[in-house]
């Protein structure tokens, strides 16, 4: 995985910027370059004391637990507890058992569909927002954020009184006389999970796309138009390629979040809509099979890492989490 700003910069700004600005993204090379240019004086503080506490925290509470889980995934869990008997059986079971394999494929499918759906619904809105000006833009962008400033538990929960037996949809249909029995198939299935995930994670797609569209220099669009490009061509040849880093960042975020979803499938999925996250959680909350649960967990982590590794060809990891912006 590359961390330098180059990958996203290459995608994000093909037009050359005549004035190089210091890049405020945490990229080592860019940082050094900018500093050399600005001054020869060292910033205040000793690096060891500044970095020490944070690095120590992350090593102890971030990395160590993860490595411990890696170790445990080779242990053996029985009804008497988990013991350090080294074996590969847990991973074999993850791969061979049809139940877990099917759950994994189903989860990947749902995550993929969620990503595609959020992309389709987000792009036009992001485009419109990027074209707005002044107060109106500030207002609409703020309105896009507001619903996402609250817990996803609540955002998933709100669908229960919409899709449920006593929900808004059933109630409306009953009142209109279209049905005379409440529909039961609206909730507790894969479709409800899909809808819930799209609702819960849309912002993570809309925001990075908006930010990348926002950065496009209007002069480029004007130039293309002046040179006789039709709107469709301007969109396809100028706007779409320049928004690619945002699209990529949004897709990665939404995929990562929905592939590891737990809350939404637990609330809206019922028996048929559970996902990998629920399978993992049950190993720890119900079955007490920590060793096997660790193997399942790390399978999910591996998928996430592979995805980031592949995408690091185009976008630096930290840029994924800052909405694909490179400046």
């Amino acid at each position: 995985m590359r961390t330098t700003a180059e990958p996203s910069r290459a995608g994000g700004r093909p037009h050359s910027d005549p004035e190089p600005e210091p890049d405020p993204s945490p990229s080592p090379d860019a940082g050094r370059k900018a500093r050399r240019k600005e001054s020869g004086v060292r910033p205040i503080g000793r690096p060891i004391w500044l970095l020490g506490p944070g690095v120590l925290w992350l090593l102890v509470f971030g990395l160590a637990p993860l490595l411990f889980m890696l170790m445990m995934s080779f242990w053996t869990s029985t009804i008497f507890g988990t013991s350090p008997d080294f074996q590969f059986g847990n991973y074999a079971r993850v791969i061979v058992t049809e139940l877990y394999r099917d759950q994994l494929f189903k989860t990947l499918r749902i995550a993929f569909m969620t990503t595609a759906m959020t992309l389709v619904i987000s792009y036009p809105v992001a485009y419109l927002l990027s074209r707005l000006q002044g107060m109106r833009k500030a207002l609409f962008v703020l309105m896009m954020f507001l619903p996402f400033w609250t817990s996803y538990v609540i955002r998933a929960f709100v669908w229960l009184p919409i899709l449920g037996r006593n929900g808004a949809i059933n109630n409306t249909l009953l009142a209109l006389g279209i049905i005379d029995q409440p529909l039961d198939w609206l909730l507790f299935n894969e479709g409800a999970v899909f809808l819930g995930l799209v609702y819960v994670y849309t912002l993570f797609m809309t925001l990075p796309i908006y930010l990348s569209l926002e950065k496009i220099d209007p002069a480029l669009i004007e130039a293309a138009t002046d040179l006789g490009a039709r709107p469709a061509a301007v969109f396809r040849r100028v706007i779409l390629p320049l928004s690619w880093p945002g699209v990529l960042s949004g897709c990665i975020m939404v995929f990562l979040l929905s592939v590891s979803a737990f809350v939404t499938p637990q609330l809206l999925g019922g028996a048929s809509g559970i996902m990998y996250g629920n399978v993992i959680a049950s190993q720890f909350l119900a079955n007490n099979n920590w060793a096997f649960g660790s193997a399942l967990s790390l399978t999910l982590v591996a998928i996430v890492l592979v995805l980031l590794l592949v995408s690091s060809r185009w976008i630096g990891v930290q840029h994924v989490f800052t909405g694909g912006r490179d400046s």
Binding site: P47, G54, T150, F321
Partner: protein, 303 residues
């Protein structure tokens, strides 16, 4: 999640952009786009407005029909000792987690101004908690603390889980603030013989203060809403989202909509204040940053 900061930048950028924009010859496209945006916002807000509506429903069932207006359920929420305790827990852990994460992130961001070996590795280390899926971030702590003999409680395991979760975002928000600004003042103070701590308290910190305040508020908001990591290490000290989850899973309690509305109000309120500070931080950074020096118009464009 890192978003609010970026939106304020967007908004600021929107205000200062004076460049001519393309003609708009495509009226039909625009109308279609606006209708589409209307549907999008309806999709975002419809369910939330419905929850506000349902929170005033007399019915014992979470749902329809609407049997009559009441504020009874808000009373139930405030009178329930478990909920009040959960609110206290959430506020306490949120404030502490925000404080710890922001301090660590500020120090890290200041460290990142220095050249040092292994910068990329440290950056990956900082990003680990947000790269790892949330559910696994909770489970690893459950295992780790379970085996180290630490009992799950609010100010041990939950606090660690929250700081882990918040720290990367705090760093990603603070780093550009510290990296962007003009170091001429700092150098001047150094030349005049000011000791480092004085340079920090009199120059560096005042410049980044709005950014720090914004980071604190966003961190609090992230912590306040955190659920998936908390649920695995919560022990008996429930936070608000965990309490809320319990009420859904156990019984679909009738006060849930009222409680949801209150949580929404608290989260949005703290984020909104953070948003305002972020806008101020961005303006201040523009004033003090190197780009402002090279492009003087930028320093005034957003006033």
């Amino acid at each position: 999640m890192a978003g609010p900061s970026t939106a304020s930048r967007g908004a600021v950028a929107g205000e200062k952009r004076a460049a001519p924009r393309p003609r708009r010859p495509y009226g039909a496209y625009r109308t279609a786009l606006w209708i589409y945006a209307g549907l999008f916002y309806a999709f975002l807000y419809g369910p939330l407005l419905m929850i506000v509506f349902l929170s005033f429903n007399q019915s014992e069932i979470v749902g329809f029909p609407f049997t009559g207006f009441t504020t009874h359920w808000y009373g139930v929420v405030f009178e329930s000792p478990a909920l009040v305790k959960a609110l206290g827990n959430s506020l306490g852990v949120g404030i502490l987690a925000a404080g710890i994460a922001t301090s660590l992130a500020l120090a890290l961001a200041m460290g990142f101004r220095h050249p040092f070996r292994g910068k990329t590795i440290v950056l990956y280390l900082i990003l680990v908690p947000i790269i790892i899926p949330g559910i696994i971030g909770g489970i690893v702590l459950l295992i780790f603390f379970g085996y180290s003999g630490v009992r799950s409680s609010l100010y041990t395991t939950v606090l660690v889980a929250h700081v882990n979760w918040v720290l990367p975002f705090a760093f990603l928000t603070l780093y550009p603030r510290l990296h962007g600004f003009d170091r001429a003042l700092e150098e001047a103070a150094m030349d005049l013989g000011a000791p480092p701590w004085k340079i920090f308290t009199r120059i560096v910190f005042p410049i980044v203060r709005p950014g720090v305040l914004a980071t604190l508020l966003f961190s609090f908001s992230l912590s306040f809403d955190e659920f998936i990591r908390t649920i695995f290490v919560t022990g008996f000290d429930r936070t608000i989202p965990v309490q809320f989850w319990g009420l859904i899973v156990d019984e679909l309690a009738p006060q849930l909509p009222a409680m949801a509305v209150l949580i929404i109000v608290i989260s949005i309120f703290s984020s909104l204040i953070g948003f305002v500070f972020m806008g101020r931080a961005a303006r201040r950074a523009a004033t003090w940053s190197g780009s402002a020096r090279r492009r003087p118009e930028r320093a005034f464009a957003t006033r």
